[in-house]
Protein backbone atom coordinates (compact mmCIF):
# COMPACT_ATOMS: atom_id res chain seq x y z
CA UNK A 1 0.00 0.00 0.00
CA UNK A 2 2.87 2.37 0.90
CA UNK A 3 4.65 1.99 -2.48
CA UNK A 4 1.37 2.12 -4.39
CA UNK A 5 0.34 5.43 -2.81
CA UNK A 6 3.87 6.88 -3.12
CA UNK A 7 3.90 6.04 -6.85
CA UNK A 8 0.58 7.84 -7.42
CA UNK A 9 1.68 10.85 -5.33
CA UNK A 10 4.99 11.05 -7.27
CA UNK A 11 3.13 10.78 -10.57
CA UNK A 12 0.63 13.52 -9.72
CA UNK A 13 3.38 15.76 -8.27
CA UNK A 14 5.41 15.44 -11.49
CA UNK A 15 2.42 16.24 -13.68
CA UNK A 16 1.29 19.04 -11.37
CA UNK A 17 4.74 20.69 -11.30
CA UNK A 18 4.89 20.60 -15.09
CA UNK A 19 1.43 22.21 -15.29
CA UNK A 20 2.53 24.89 -12.78
CA UNK A 21 5.59 25.61 -14.93
CA UNK A 22 3.37 25.72 -18.05
CA UNK A 23 0.97 28.16 -16.35
CA UNK A 24 3.89 30.34 -15.17
CA UNK A 25 5.24 30.47 -18.71
CA UNK A 26 1.78 31.41 -19.97
CA UNK A 27 1.56 34.25 -17.42
CA UNK A 28 5.01 35.52 -18.52
CA UNK A 29 3.86 35.30 -22.16
CA UNK A 30 0.70 37.29 -21.37
CA UNK A 31 2.77 40.00 -19.63
CA UNK A 32 5.12 40.18 -22.60
CA UNK A 33 2.17 40.46 -25.02
CA UNK A 34 0.60 43.17 -22.84
CA UNK A 35 3.92 45.09 -22.90
CA UNK A 36 3.95 44.89 -26.68
CA UNK A 37 0.33 46.11 -26.90
CA UNK A 38 1.26 49.08 -24.67
CA UNK A 39 4.20 49.92 -26.91
CA UNK A 40 1.98 49.75 -30.01
CA UNK A 41 -0.69 51.90 -28.35
CA UNK A 42 1.89 54.52 -27.31
CA UNK A 43 3.28 54.49 -30.83
CA UNK A 44 -0.13 55.01 -32.45
CA UNK A 45 -0.84 57.88 -30.00
CA UNK A 46 2.33 59.58 -31.25
CA UNK A 47 1.04 59.17 -34.80
CA UNK A 48 3.13 56.17 -35.82
CA UNK A 49 6.39 57.53 -34.41
CA UNK A 50 8.25 55.35 -31.86
Amino acid sequence: MRYYLTAYIVFWSGLFLYLVWLTGRQAWLNRRAAGLVERLAARSERGGQS
Binding site: A7, Y18, A33
Partner: protein, 260 residues
Amino acid sequence: MIASIKKWWPRSWRQFWTTLDGRTYHVLLHARPWIGWLAVGMMVATFALVFWWVPLESIQGYPQKIFYIHVPSAWLMYSAFAVVFVASVMYLWQRTQLWDIFARCAAEIGFLFCSLTLVTGMLWGSPIWGKPWVWDARLTSSFILWLIYMGYLLFRMLARSDIEVGRIAAVIGIIGFLDVPIIHLSVQWWRTLHPLPVVMIAENPGGGLPASMLITLLVALTSFSLVFVYLLTQRVWQERTIENLGLLEAILDRKAEHAT
Protein backbone atom coordinates in the same frame (compact mmCIF):
# COMPACT_ATOMS: atom_id res chain seq x y z
CA MET B 1 -14.28 21.51 -60.62
CA ILE B 2 -11.12 20.11 -62.21
CA ALA B 3 -9.61 23.57 -62.14
CA SER B 4 -10.26 23.90 -58.39
CA ILE B 5 -8.77 20.44 -57.72
CA LYS B 6 -5.73 21.39 -59.79
CA LYS B 7 -5.40 24.60 -57.80
CA TRP B 8 -5.65 22.72 -54.50
CA TRP B 9 -3.48 19.73 -55.53
CA PRO B 10 0.07 20.05 -54.18
CA ARG B 11 2.72 20.46 -56.89
CA SER B 12 5.54 18.81 -54.96
CA TRP B 13 6.16 16.64 -51.90
CA ARG B 14 7.48 19.70 -50.10
CA GLN B 15 4.22 21.58 -50.76
CA PHE B 16 2.18 18.51 -49.72
CA TRP B 17 3.95 18.25 -46.37
CA THR B 18 3.77 22.00 -45.75
CA THR B 19 -0.02 21.99 -46.41
CA LEU B 20 -0.56 18.89 -44.28
CA ASP B 21 1.59 20.26 -41.48
CA GLY B 22 -0.27 23.62 -41.54
CA ARG B 23 -3.75 22.07 -41.63
CA THR B 24 -3.07 19.49 -38.89
CA TYR B 25 -1.54 22.20 -36.72
CA HIS B 26 -4.56 24.51 -37.11
CA VAL B 27 -7.10 21.74 -36.44
CA LEU B 28 -5.20 20.75 -33.27
CA LEU B 29 -4.90 24.38 -32.21
CA HIS B 30 -8.65 24.97 -32.37
CA ALA B 31 -9.49 21.63 -30.73
CA ARG B 32 -7.03 22.30 -27.85
CA PRO B 33 -9.55 23.33 -25.10
CA TRP B 34 -11.79 20.36 -25.96
CA ILE B 35 -8.86 17.96 -25.89
CA GLY B 36 -7.83 19.43 -22.51
CA TRP B 37 -11.25 18.92 -20.89
CA LEU B 38 -11.59 15.46 -22.44
CA ALA B 39 -8.16 14.57 -21.02
CA VAL B 40 -9.21 15.76 -17.53
CA GLY B 41 -12.44 13.70 -17.74
CA MET B 42 -10.60 10.59 -18.92
CA MET B 43 -7.94 10.99 -16.20
CA VAL B 44 -10.67 11.18 -13.52
CA ALA B 45 -12.28 8.05 -15.03
CA THR B 46 -8.92 6.25 -15.08
CA PHE B 47 -8.20 6.94 -11.41
CA ALA B 48 -11.77 6.07 -10.40
CA LEU B 49 -11.33 2.70 -12.15
CA VAL B 50 -7.91 2.10 -10.55
CA PHE B 51 -8.95 3.04 -7.00
CA TRP B 52 -12.48 1.63 -6.83
CA TRP B 53 -13.21 -0.80 -9.65
CA VAL B 54 -10.32 -2.96 -10.81
CA PRO B 55 -9.73 -5.91 -8.40
CA LEU B 56 -6.48 -6.44 -6.50
CA GLU B 57 -4.08 -8.84 -8.16
CA SER B 58 -3.84 -11.93 -5.95
CA ILE B 59 -0.02 -12.36 -5.88
CA GLN B 60 1.38 -8.81 -5.95
CA GLY B 61 -1.47 -6.99 -4.18
CA TYR B 62 -1.40 -3.17 -4.14
CA PRO B 63 1.98 -2.64 -5.89
CA GLN B 64 0.45 -4.17 -9.06
CA LYS B 65 -1.79 -1.07 -9.34
CA ILE B 66 1.36 0.96 -10.16
CA PHE B 67 1.11 -0.81 -13.53
CA TYR B 68 -1.79 1.53 -14.54
CA ILE B 69 0.45 4.61 -14.43
CA HIS B 70 3.79 2.96 -15.25
CA VAL B 71 2.73 1.40 -18.59
CA PRO B 72 0.77 4.47 -19.89
CA SER B 73 3.71 6.72 -18.88
CA ALA B 74 6.03 4.49 -20.92
CA TRP B 75 3.54 4.57 -23.82
CA LEU B 76 3.42 8.38 -23.65
CA MET B 77 7.23 8.48 -23.52
CA TYR B 78 7.45 6.28 -26.67
CA SER B 79 4.89 8.48 -28.46
CA ALA B 80 6.66 11.70 -27.49
CA PHE B 81 10.05 10.45 -28.69
CA ALA B 82 8.42 9.17 -31.91
CA VAL B 83 7.17 12.75 -32.46
CA VAL B 84 10.72 14.01 -31.79
CA PHE B 85 12.00 11.53 -34.41
CA VAL B 86 9.44 12.47 -37.12
CA ALA B 87 9.69 16.22 -36.42
CA SER B 88 13.52 16.07 -36.47
CA VAL B 89 13.54 14.22 -39.82
CA MET B 90 11.05 16.75 -41.22
CA TYR B 91 13.10 19.65 -39.87
CA LEU B 92 16.29 18.37 -41.51
CA TRP B 93 14.38 17.89 -44.76
CA GLN B 94 12.32 21.10 -44.88
CA ARG B 95 14.06 23.44 -42.37
CA THR B 96 10.62 24.70 -41.24
CA GLN B 97 10.75 26.24 -37.78
CA LEU B 98 7.45 24.61 -36.75
CA TRP B 99 9.00 21.11 -36.97
CA ASP B 100 11.87 22.21 -34.74
CA ILE B 101 9.39 23.57 -32.17
CA PHE B 102 7.41 20.30 -32.29
CA ALA B 103 10.61 18.29 -31.69
CA ARG B 104 11.71 20.49 -28.77
CA CYS B 105 8.30 20.46 -27.03
CA ALA B 106 7.78 16.70 -27.55
CA ALA B 107 11.28 16.00 -26.14
CA GLU B 108 10.44 17.99 -23.02
CA ILE B 109 7.19 16.04 -22.43
CA GLY B 110 8.91 12.74 -23.32
CA PHE B 111 11.65 13.45 -20.79
CA LEU B 112 9.10 14.19 -18.04
CA PHE B 113 7.26 10.92 -18.70
CA CYS B 114 10.52 8.98 -19.07
CA SER B 115 11.43 10.18 -15.54
CA LEU B 116 7.96 9.20 -14.25
CA THR B 117 8.27 5.76 -15.89
CA LEU B 118 11.64 5.17 -14.20
CA VAL B 119 10.47 6.39 -10.76
CA THR B 120 7.16 4.46 -10.80
CA GLY B 121 9.09 1.38 -11.99
CA MET B 122 11.48 1.72 -9.06
CA LEU B 123 8.55 2.06 -6.65
CA TRP B 124 7.11 -1.18 -8.07
CA GLY B 125 10.51 -2.92 -7.98
CA SER B 126 11.12 -2.13 -4.30
CA PRO B 127 8.40 -4.44 -2.88
CA ILE B 128 8.40 -6.99 -5.74
CA TRP B 129 12.15 -7.47 -6.40
CA GLY B 130 13.31 -6.36 -2.95
CA LYS B 131 15.32 -3.46 -4.44
CA PRO B 132 14.36 -0.44 -6.54
CA TRP B 133 16.97 -0.84 -9.28
CA VAL B 134 18.71 -3.68 -11.10
CA TRP B 135 21.00 -3.26 -14.13
CA ASP B 136 18.57 -5.26 -16.22
CA ALA B 137 18.46 -4.75 -20.05
CA ARG B 138 15.18 -2.85 -20.09
CA LEU B 139 15.99 -0.65 -17.08
CA THR B 140 19.48 0.11 -18.36
CA SER B 141 18.29 0.95 -21.91
CA SER B 142 15.50 3.16 -20.46
CA PHE B 143 18.06 4.94 -18.27
CA ILE B 144 20.26 5.49 -21.36
CA LEU B 145 17.24 7.01 -23.15
CA TRP B 146 16.67 9.32 -20.17
CA LEU B 147 20.34 10.41 -20.31
CA ILE B 148 20.19 10.99 -24.10
CA TYR B 149 17.15 13.26 -23.87
CA MET B 150 18.47 15.06 -20.80
CA GLY B 151 21.56 15.79 -22.94
CA TYR B 152 19.27 16.88 -25.80
CA LEU B 153 17.38 19.35 -23.59
CA LEU B 154 20.56 20.65 -21.90
CA PHE B 155 22.15 21.17 -25.31
CA ARG B 156 19.12 23.16 -26.47
CA MET B 157 19.20 25.27 -23.31
CA LEU B 158 22.93 26.01 -23.33
CA ALA B 159 23.87 26.22 -27.04
CA ARG B 160 23.99 29.68 -28.66
CA SER B 161 23.59 29.81 -32.45
CA ASP B 162 19.94 29.16 -33.38
CA ILE B 163 20.37 27.56 -36.81
CA GLU B 164 23.05 25.10 -35.69
CA VAL B 165 21.10 24.22 -32.52
CA GLY B 166 18.08 23.05 -34.54
CA ARG B 167 20.23 20.97 -36.90
CA ILE B 168 22.42 19.31 -34.24
CA ALA B 169 19.44 18.76 -31.90
CA ALA B 170 17.55 17.07 -34.76
CA VAL B 171 20.46 14.64 -35.25
CA ILE B 172 20.57 13.88 -31.48
CA GLY B 173 16.76 13.43 -31.48
CA ILE B 174 16.91 10.95 -34.37
CA ILE B 175 19.81 8.94 -32.89
CA GLY B 176 18.16 8.98 -29.44
CA PHE B 177 14.95 7.49 -30.82
CA LEU B 178 16.86 4.41 -32.01
CA ASP B 179 16.95 3.37 -28.32
CA VAL B 180 13.12 3.12 -28.19
CA PRO B 181 12.77 -0.15 -30.22
CA ILE B 182 15.77 -1.53 -28.27
CA ILE B 183 13.92 -0.81 -24.98
CA HIS B 184 10.74 -2.37 -26.29
CA LEU B 185 12.39 -5.55 -27.58
CA SER B 186 15.00 -5.85 -24.80
CA VAL B 187 12.78 -8.20 -22.74
CA GLN B 188 12.65 -10.60 -25.70
CA TRP B 189 16.28 -10.28 -26.79
CA TRP B 190 17.88 -10.77 -23.36
CA ARG B 191 16.97 -12.68 -20.19
CA THR B 192 15.72 -9.91 -17.95
CA LEU B 193 14.07 -9.42 -14.57
CA HIS B 194 11.54 -7.03 -16.10
CA PRO B 195 8.18 -8.75 -16.81
CA LEU B 196 7.39 -9.77 -20.41
CA PRO B 197 4.65 -7.92 -22.36
CA VAL B 198 1.09 -8.84 -21.32
CA VAL B 199 -0.85 -6.79 -23.87
CA MET B 200 1.14 -6.59 -27.10
CA ILE B 201 1.48 -10.32 -27.66
CA ALA B 202 1.49 -11.23 -31.38
CA GLU B 203 -0.42 -14.53 -31.07
CA ASN B 204 -2.99 -13.29 -28.51
CA PRO B 205 -3.27 -9.47 -28.23
CA GLY B 206 -4.42 -8.43 -24.76
CA GLY B 207 -4.80 -12.06 -23.74
CA GLY B 208 -2.32 -11.86 -20.87
CA LEU B 209 -4.71 -9.82 -18.71
CA PRO B 210 -8.19 -10.37 -17.22
CA ALA B 211 -10.94 -8.22 -18.84
CA SER B 212 -11.23 -5.72 -15.94
CA MET B 213 -7.47 -5.04 -15.93
CA LEU B 214 -7.37 -4.75 -19.72
CA ILE B 215 -10.28 -2.24 -19.75
CA THR B 216 -8.61 -0.13 -17.03
CA LEU B 217 -5.33 -0.18 -18.91
CA LEU B 218 -6.98 0.81 -22.22
CA VAL B 219 -8.82 3.70 -20.54
CA ALA B 220 -5.51 4.80 -18.95
CA LEU B 221 -3.71 4.59 -22.31
CA THR B 222 -6.43 6.72 -23.97
CA SER B 223 -6.36 9.35 -21.22
CA PHE B 224 -2.55 9.57 -21.25
CA SER B 225 -2.62 9.94 -25.06
CA LEU B 226 -5.08 12.84 -24.71
CA VAL B 227 -2.87 14.43 -22.04
CA PHE B 228 0.07 14.15 -24.42
CA VAL B 229 -1.81 15.75 -27.35
CA TYR B 230 -3.02 18.57 -25.07
CA LEU B 231 0.38 19.29 -23.51
CA LEU B 232 2.12 19.17 -26.90
CA THR B 233 -0.32 21.53 -28.65
CA GLN B 234 -0.26 23.91 -25.68
CA ARG B 235 3.56 24.01 -25.59
CA VAL B 236 3.84 24.37 -29.39
CA TRP B 237 1.33 27.24 -29.31
CA GLN B 238 3.33 28.95 -26.53
CA GLU B 239 6.63 28.61 -28.38
CA ARG B 240 5.07 29.89 -31.64
CA THR B 241 3.63 32.88 -29.78
CA ILE B 242 7.00 33.63 -28.14
CA GLU B 243 8.61 33.54 -31.58
CA ASN B 244 5.97 35.85 -33.10
CA LEU B 245 6.19 38.28 -30.16
CA GLY B 246 9.98 38.35 -30.52
CA LEU B 247 9.58 39.19 -34.21
CA LEU B 248 7.13 42.03 -33.49
CA GLU B 249 9.38 43.42 -30.73
CA ALA B 250 12.35 43.35 -33.12
CA ILE B 251 10.33 45.28 -35.75
CA LEU B 252 9.29 47.89 -33.15
CA ASP B 253 12.89 48.21 -31.90
CA ARG B 254 14.15 48.74 -35.44
CA LYS B 255 11.48 51.38 -36.11
CA ALA B 256 12.38 53.10 -32.83
CA GLU B 257 16.06 53.13 -33.89
CA HIS B 258 15.18 54.66 -37.28
CA ALA B 259 13.02 57.32 -35.62
CA THR B 260 15.82 58.51 -33.30
